[in-house]
């Protein structure tokens, strides 16, 4: 019995539920030398901003127990170079392409969204709301339900492409943020982004990151992410992409049983570039072993007695 791994996230069709998460994968070029990108369910690109961004001062990485702290700072070549130099390679692969966008003001998101809306080969936009809203004193968009509602609604108004909103976990009630995005018209949600964290070098007595704080990813955050997926699954009626420390097929299955229709993998790619392929095959074996023909039947299958 060969299980059907296909899954739909709203209007987005995926050949299988495993995607490359935004941030660790660049625009696919480097990893395309190690794995066949067409084997993935989808690729979520590194964040694209309107103008090129230099990123934060080094050191940008610190290793923590079962985790990784990063303060890359959204370094990216900007929209123009993305379209001209990065997109062509991505269009060659037979996998869903999701472009992650971010800005410091609503207007920047809108201009990005409008420009990317009808581009051939782009299947969805992922809205990165973990950015500070400069007009609002640097308050992170994603921490405020009304800011999220306004942003997603305005992007929805100027686009017809499927929209995925990527939620930040640095909030008290992620389901509340999820609901705001749902009401505004997002078609799917991806969660979680990194957790705000810090590490200190006790010999130099300095922060390990040049930016002082950064985002924590990796296995250490998985239990938090699984909990947030579950809480969101109970409150909204949208397909979810579960992200956060997935290293093995079992990790991915936790998210799926909690309510995710698909999963995205980031940090684990550093350790083993073949992780996503192994997770996909592990999900297939699990379905075979449990005699489940359709992957979609597994979503949210959590026994609570």
């Amino acid at each position: 019995m060969n299980p059907n791994l296909k899954i739909k996230l709203g209007r987005i069709s995926l050949n299988n539920p495993v995607l490359a998460a935004s941030g660790t994968f660049g625009y696919g070029e480097e990893y395309s030398r190690f794995i066949d990108l067409s084997e993935l369910g989808g690729i979520i690109t590194k964040t694209v901003t309107l103008e090129p961004r230099e990123g934060n001062r080094p050191p940008r990485l610190a290793e923590t127990p079962s985790g990784l702290l990063n303060s890359i700072g959204l370094e990216n070549p900007g929209l123009k170079i993305f379209l001209r130099e990065k997109l062509p390679l991505l269009q060659r692969f037979n996998t869903a392409l999701v472009v992650n966008i971010a800005g410091e003001k609503e207007e920047e998101y809108l201009r990005l969204a409008e420009r990317l809306n009808r581009v051939k080969g782009i299947d969805a936009l992922e809205i990165n709301i973990s950015c500070p809203n400069v007009k609002n004193g640097g308050l992170i968009f994603g921490t405020n339900p009304s800011l999220v509602f306004s942003l997603v609604k305005r992007i929805r108004e100027v686009t017809d492409i499927p929209l995925i909103t990527k939620l930040t976990p640095n909030v008290t009630d992620i389901a509340e943020i999820a609901q705001a995005a749902e009401e505004a018209g997002t078609e799917a949600l991806s969660l979680i982004n990194t957790l705000l964290a810090m590490a200190i070098d006790v010999e130099t007595r300095k922060p390990k990151l040049g930016n002082v704080t950064g985002g924590l990813s990796g296995p250490a955050i998985r239990p938090i992410a699984v909990r947030m997926v579950r809480q969101t699954f109970q409150k909204v009626n949208l397909p979810l992409i579960g992200v956060g420390g997935i290293m093995t097929p079992e990790d991915a299955l936790e998210f799926i049983l909690a309510g995710a229709s698909a999963v995205a993998i980031g940090t684990a790619n550093f350790i083993d570039p073949k992780t996503m392929i192994k997770v996909k095959e592990g999900i297939r074996e699990y379905l075979q072993r449990n005699n489940i023909r359709e992957f979609k039947d597994l979503v949210g299958w959590l026994n609570l007695n």
């Binding site: 994968f25 030398r33 990784l68």
Partner: protein, 266 residues
């Protein structure tokens, strides 16, 4: 550039906390260039995740040699990998030393464990000129420095290649008493200038080499290191400040020309 599993052939403690591991890795040896590195998975099963990058010290047929120092969790785990254990490697990675023209006189500058990639380079240099135009091999002088005598590595190996080796120790236990960069500065004052300089070692040493290169207009290349995530250029975690913006040590480097780097930002 590939991901392969290599068997440990030997892993020996040379002196103090310095080790040499030899791995059976035909694919990497075939393509390796001096100055490139391998990104090794050592932390599996521990609470720590990331691969560790190591410059390629030498290749001998299908044998890949890494010379390393135990400085933390990752290198400590590496030192415990026994013969016949398997290690997952990504490599060869990065931009190696550039050997473009024909040159007569080359200076290599090594600080401590920085000597590691320079051995592979010296071997390749000695073959280089003869490949290009059948000319005589370059004259190589290695300036090798460390804090104390016991930390001077590979001196005899370089002599066996035919290189002149000049040693400096900070405590004077061997050779010139002081920093290797000061020994080099004094030498440059008195003797003929080299055609090329290649350096690897602590950042303060590299900064002094950069100053000397500027002063004497010496074409110089340095190998830098930085904490790495992916090791292949995708995550942008390992950048250094250069004239043209941030450059990735894993992909745009680890070898850079001294003029590329903004040394006061390092």
């Amino acid at each position: 550039m590939c991901q392969i599993v290599a068997e440990v052939l030997s892993n020996k403690n040379i002196t103090l906390n310095y080790f040499k591991i030899i791995l059976n890795s035909p694919e990497i040896c075939q393509n390796a260039q001096p100055g490139q590195f391998v990104h090794i998975e050592v932390t599996a099963g521990s609470a720590f995740l990331l691969r560790r990058p190591f410059s390629i010290h030498n290749t001998e047929d299908e044998k890949l040699e890494i010379l390393y120092q135990v400085v933390g969790k990752g290198t400590d785990l590496l030192s415990k990998k026994e013969k016949s254990k398997k290690l997952d490697l990504l490599g060869p990675l990065g931009q190696g030393f550039e050997l473009k023209e024909n040159f007569g006189k080359v200076i290599l500058v090594a600080g401590g464990i920085g000597v590691a990639p320079l051995y592979f380079l010296a071997k390749r240099l000695l073959n280089h000129n003869s490949k290009i135009s059948g000319q005589t091999p370059p004259k190589i002088t290695l300036f090798l420095g460390a804090q104390t005598r016991k930390q001077i590595l590979c001196a005899q190996d370089f002599k066996n290649l035919g290189a002149t080796v000049k040693i400096a120790t900070e405590d004077g236990s061997w050779g010139y008493k002081g920093l290797i960069s000061d020994f080099l500065a004094e030498t440059l004052l008195r003797y003929a200038k080299p055609d090329l300089v290649f350096a690897c070692g602590p950042v303060p040493m590299l900064k002094k080499i950069a100053q000397l290169s500027r002063k004497y207009r010496l074409p110089s290349q340095v190998s830098l290191e930085q904490r790495m995530g992916c090791g292949i250029g995708a995550c942008l975690g390992c950048v250094v400040r250069a004239r043209e913006g941030y450059l990735r040590v894993c992909k745009d480097g680890p070898v850079f020309t001294v003029n590329q780097i903004l040394w006061d930002r390092l």
